[in-house]
Structures are given as C-alpha cells and as structure tokens.
Amino acid sequence: MKRLSVRARAAVGGIAAVALLAGCVGAKETGSSSDPTANASAKEVTLVISANDIKGGKNAAEAAWIEDVVIPGFVAAQKAKGVTAKVTFNGAGVEDEQYKTKLELNLRTGSGSDVFATDGIWLGELAAAGYVKPLDDVVGKAASSWDGWGQISEAVQQNLTFKDKRYGIPNGTDGRVLYFNKKLFAQAGLPADWQPTSWADIIAAGQALKGIKGVTPIQVNAGVPMGEATTAQGFLPLLAGTGQPLYDDAKGTWQGASAGVKDVLDFYRQVYGQGLGDPRMQQDKAGRDQSFAEFSQGKVGILAEGDYFWRSIVCPDKTECGATSMPDRDSVVGWAKIPANSPGAGVNGQDFVSVSGGSGWMISPKTAFPQQAWELLAFMASADMQTKLSQAQIRVSARKDVNDATLKGDPLLSFISETVLPITTYRPSDEHYNEVSLAIQQATADVVNGKSPQEAAATYEKSLGEAVGADHVAGQ
C-alpha cells in the first residue's frame, strides 16, 4: 500500500504538470489580425531584421551592409522625424533549409523579427500557410504608392508575388548562363566566343573536350545532394528550352512525363551516359562544392550556373572567394546564353532561355510597428541603399536604376542584366514547388544512375501526382 502511494503520488504529480501545460498551450496561439495603423505615430520604435547573413561568414558583405549602413542610416532618418528607433540585426550563417525552418517557426508564433529575408521560392508555402500576408494588408496604402516599384520590372516583382498580390520587395535577381574555360576550349579547338544555338552544340563541344585528359567536359547539375541547385541550374533551364514552362499558371497544372521532360532527361543521359560528365560528383554530398573547385582549377570545361558563380565563387578577390578564386577569371572564363533544344524551341518561341530567382525582404504580419517596418523596407530598397549594397558586393539588383549605374564595370553582370533578364523565366511560386523540385532531383539522379529517361519520367510523374494531386498533372 505504501509503495503504491509513492508511485501514485509521483505519477499524479507528473500528470498534473503535463495537464497544466496542455491547458496553457493553445491558449496563446491566437491569430491576431494585423492592423496597418498600429503604433503608426509611436515615438519609440523597436525593429528586428533577420537574414541568413552573418558578419565574417556567409553573405558577409550584406550583413555588413545591414549593420553598418542600413541601420545607422535608418536610425538617423527616423531621428530627423523625432522618432527614436532601435534596430537590431539577428544574423545567421546556416544552410538555407535550417534558416527556412526557423523562419517558419518564428512566423507561426510571431516571435521572430519584423523584417526578414526570404528566398522567392518559399513565398508560396509561407503564404498558403498564412504565415505572411500581402503588403496591402499588413501596411496599407503606403506600400502600393511606393515610387520604387517603377524601377523594378514586372517579371522581377513576380518573384515575391503570390496570387497577384505583392508580399515584399525583391532584393536582387540573377540569371543562369553556361560558363566555359577558354583555355580548355583553345586546347580542344573550340572558339573563345562560343555561343551554342542548340543542345546538340553543347554535346558536340563536350565531345571535343572529352579528348583532354583529366578534364570533365560538362557539369550540368543532377542528383539529390545538390538540392535546389539541380532543379534551378540544371533541369529548369533545359526544360524552358523545350517550349513549355514547368507550371501552367492558367490551368494550374504541372508538366508530368511530357515530351519536354523526357527530352531534358535524355539530355542528361547523353551527358552522363557518354562520359561527358562526372556521375560520381552528382552523388557526393559535397558534389556542388567539388564542381566549383574543379572548375576553378581548370578541370571542368562547361558549367551551368547563375551569376552568383561569377561573383562569389571564382572572383579574383581571394578574401571574397577563398580557395576557389581564379585570379585570371576575366580572361579565362567565358559565358554563353543557354540555348533552347533547337532554335525557336524555347518558351515563347525563344532561341535562348534562362531561369532566374532571387530573394527579397518581407514584413511579419505580427509586427508591432507595421508602418515603421515598411519605412525600413522602403529605405533598404531605396536607390541609395541598393547602390551601396552593390558597391559592397557587386550583384544584379532588383532596381533598374541601380543596375545601370553599378554594373558598367562588370561584363558578365551587365550581360545578365541586359541580355539574360529579358529572356528569363521564373520558378512557380506555388506552395508545392518544393516537393516538385525534389521529384525532379530524383528523376535526374535516376538517369545519372543509369535508368532510362522513360523510366525516370514515369517515376517522376508518379511522385508529382502524390505531391500536387493527380488532377494538377498536365495530360500528355
């Protein structure tokens, strides 16, 4: 009897604690509808910015820009209006996946930052979950009447648009091209101003490069370890070259095992099945980093990547680009537009295609200072601030005026801004994009491992159906 009472008491104590907690939880999670005018005339304002940047680490230039340029500038501007603003920056330097998960948790509870950085492809998921709301709802009229919108093209605005509503301000954009090593090309008898006009041209160049010992002719991202880089740099630019986009906005359907998809997978087969690519690198966890290192050492002939590769991987500046820096980048690295399967076969009947993405800044709907958060956002996106960011780290800004002013000195980035952006496509901002991308990665992995394009496409279509529902898969 006595024994029971000890155990019973312990059990009861434990259960009581648990029950108490269960009662508390769920009480706090009320969805407070945001009032755009909340605290609009406050004299003391606290704002928190968060991004996957950190001083001395990942995206250090942007982190420094935020901490040393944006925040003091904003605080000073507010002071001129008689408002004391306290702005802090919560940086991080982790993998995108982890940053995204933490962001979602914070948005769900409203415990995170007021202004945060996000990748455009996450918008669909975040919006569908109700974690973010359109700018008009959070901020009101001030957002739609901003003059900066005129400097950002419609296409780039689409990056942070969901169901025709703007959710944030894009921070920058990019474009994908084919990089090639001019030295290796000379060895293989290929021209230094190489511009392929069809996929066959790429394969032919690869065959020519195959003769050089110790060189991987073509690196087109494939496999699951490379994650989104497989889809965005490898699969989607090729798919755009077959004429149909991945997702049909009007019909709400995704391409399944269509002719275009099979053609893309067949291209992969030609590359990896004929020794024009390194299949092992696509299976290795550090494969993407390896491919960069190899290119910088002159061991890869052709590489499909975004402008990020040019400015952050192989740039001549060793402090910026570390071990993969190429001091002779400007003379050795050439670039070419990605061709469609054959001239005129691309989307909109284009001869050349590309894929673009980009990140941007959004406001948390649960912020206590919506108007001031918007002012901060607009300040960060102003011509002055964006110019300073581009000066700290050259990139393609979302704003046309900034690009015109800052990109003059960089041939590739001007090329991207003037030639590539007009022909580019954007990834769908649908909440299922992430899962579809995984299915695509698996399809490319299957082909690299030796499965036939038909098999891989069939598996892809099955996974696609599970992800988006069978009625959203386009008929053949």
């Binding site: 006595k2 009472s5 000890v6 008491r9 312990a10 104590g13 434990g14 259960i15 604690a17 648990v18 907690l21 269960a22 996946e97 998960t101 979602e104 948790l105 769900r108 996450w122 669909g124 998921e125 975040l126 569908a128 979950a129 109700g130 974690y131 699951v224 370890p225 092992r280 299976q283 290795d284 966890k285 550090a286 390896q290 909440e431 299922h432 992430n434 899962e435 995984l438 992995a445 491992n449």
Partner: protein
C-alpha cells in the same frame, strides 16, 4: 553478443567468484525482510529527491514527446495549406510508412548500422579498451584516452570535415596513404564507411562507462581469483563480467538506443548514393524537414521507438535468463 560465455559457464562451475560472493552474503547479518532503505531515507524525502528531476522531465520531455507522437496521427506540415487546417488521419501515416519500401530498406539499414557499429563495434572495442587501459602504463593510457576521447568530443560538424578530408576522392588522406587515387570510398562503400565512422566516433562512451564500471569490481574478488590460479582471461570471464553485468546491459541499451537515433551519418553521406545509407533518422529528416511532412515524420519516430522497445525487451530477457542460471 558480447556476454555469451562468461555468465553461462558460471552456473556450471563453482568458480572463485561464486565463492567470494557467498562469503560476502554471509556477512550480511540475520536475514529479515529485504529492506533496501538502509539509510533511513524515508518516503517523503525520497519523493523530494525525485521531484525536481520528475518535474523537469515531465515538462520538457514527456509533454513534447507525447505531443510529437500525437502529430503522427495528423497530416501535419509546417508550411503550405497543410499548416492551417490540421486534418486527423488516424493511422494513415502508419499505413503509408509500413507500405513504403523505402521505409523497410531504411529499417534494415538501421539495424545493420546499429548492430554493426554499436552492439558489436563500440561495445566490444569499448570494453577491451577499458580493460586494457586499466592495466596499461601511463603513457599509453594517456595517448589512447585522449585520442579516443577527441573522436567523441569533437562536434558533429567538425568531425564531418575530418572524415571528408580523410575520404575525399581527390585530396583525401586515406587515398594518399594507400596510393589509391580517385577512389570514392563514401560512394562505393557507404554502409561500411558509416559503421566504421560510428565505431570511431562513439567508442569513447563505452570506454568511459566500462572504466567506471570496472572500478566497482572489488579488488578482493580479483585477488581471490588470482590466488586460486585463474588466468587473466578467466578472471575477466568469471569475476569481472558477472559483476558488471548490470553495466553491460545499461551500456548496450543506451548505445543501441542512441545509435538508432544517430543523425550524424548524414553529414558524411547524406543518405548515401541514392539512399544506400539512408538510415531511419536520415529518412525522418528527409521526410519531415526537407519534404515538410512532419506528421509522417512523427509517425516514423514512433515506429522507431517501438523497434527499440522490442530490442530492449530482447536484451533484458537475454540477460535475465543468464542471471537465473547463475543464481542456481
């Protein structure tokens, strides 16, 4: 399994250990109803001692764990429309898991991983090291202890770099030493790599535990055995192993459980080429975090837990039958 021979032979021959233990038992005094509370702790005080741990565990362990298991019954995801409307799917997640061939493969790989690297690898190596170090000279002991410990203490992210540097295809240390160039160890032998990796990484805990356990073997027993002419190996078998049987069970249970939930191979192989080394924790991560199906991930966590439970029951039964043989 490591504890096969010593205890079973115990029942057959009255070894020196049995004699020593009988001697101790006789000094216990008049036999009365066995009351372990010799210090006079008393129930109220005992409760007070347990209360803080109990409270902390209830709030920060039991509650979130039950909540997580509850999620296994929902079609729950952190983003997308699934995050707003929580649909109850009951056993739907479990059915999907049990009918998913990838789940079965993952379970098989995990069992291989656990038995290879933990139950056999870490356990045996850990014990042998502890035994050896207890009678080794100071230099050897210090060097080995530091090395073994470093392998365990270093954080996962650091260790990942160390092993990538070791196994790298082009620049790896192993390839340089063996003269094999371009050998992709991680891609060709993923399971071997993670098993050896885990033995390297986790043996230190077994060494620590067994070292501490060996100190609880009364030296008098070993003296008696040695005087009775037992060799080193016989002392080990008849005195040491029976005495620390509880510790062996504890260690095996713990490292089995921990290895089952060990996520660190992800840092080396990310699930191996095409899922060849995708053990359950990696499978859960892929489904729950990358894929976003938290409810499904939670369901698999429960299945993992049940597997552990079955194995633990097996261990306990195994050792209990042994002990009954001994007490005879």
């Amino acid at each position: 399994m490591p504890t096969t021979s010593p205890v079973s032979e115990q029942g057959q021959q009255a070894g020196p250990a049995a004699a020593a233990q009988a001697a101790t038992r006789s000094t216990r005094g008049p036999t009365r109803r066995h009351d372990p509370d010799v210090a006079g702790l008393g129930r109220p005080r005992a409760l007070a001692f347990v209360a803080p741990a109990l409270l902390l565990v209830s709030v920060f362990l039991v509650f979130p764990a039950i909540w997580t298991l509850y999620l296994g019954l929902l079609d729950y995801s952190l983003t997308g429309a699934g995050a707003q409307a929580l649909t109850f799917v009951g056993l739907g997640n479990y059915v999907s898991a049990l009918t998913d061939p990838q789940f079965h493969r993952s379970l098989y790989l995990t069992l291989v991983y656990v038995f290879g690297s933990a139950v056999i690898g870490q356990n045996v190596l850990g014990f042998l090291l502890a035994w050896f170090l207890s009678r080794a000279d100071r230099v050897v002991r210090s060097v080995l202890t530091i090395l073994v410990l470093l392998a365990w203490i270093l954080p996962g992210s650091v260790v990942a770099f160390l092993w990538q540097a070791l196994l790298d295809r082009r620049n790896g240390t192993l390839n340089a030493l063996l003269g094999t160039t371009d050998q992709a160890w991680v891609l060709d032998h993923p399971m071997w790599v993670i098993v050896i990796f885990n033995i390297w990484r986790g043996t230190a805990f077994s060494v620590l535990l067994y070292t501490a356990a060996l100190t609880s073997v009364p030296r008098s027993h070993l003296e008696v055995a040695r005087m009775a002419g037992a060799s080193s190996w016989q002392q080990l078998r008849d005195v040491v192993l029976p005495t620390i049987r509880g510790h062996i069970l504890t260690n095996t249970l713990l490292i089995t459980l921990w290895t089952f939930n060990d996520f660190s191979p992800y840092l080396l192989t990310a699930g191996g080429p095409d899922g060849a080394s995708e053990i359950l924790p990696i499978y859960i991560y892929r489904e729950a975090i990358i894929g976003g199906h938290l409810g499904f991930g939670s369901a698999i966590s429960l299945l993992l837990l049940l597997t552990n439970l079955v194995i633990a029951v097996f261990y306990i039964r195994l050792l209990r039958t042994r002990s009954r043989g001994q007490e005879a």
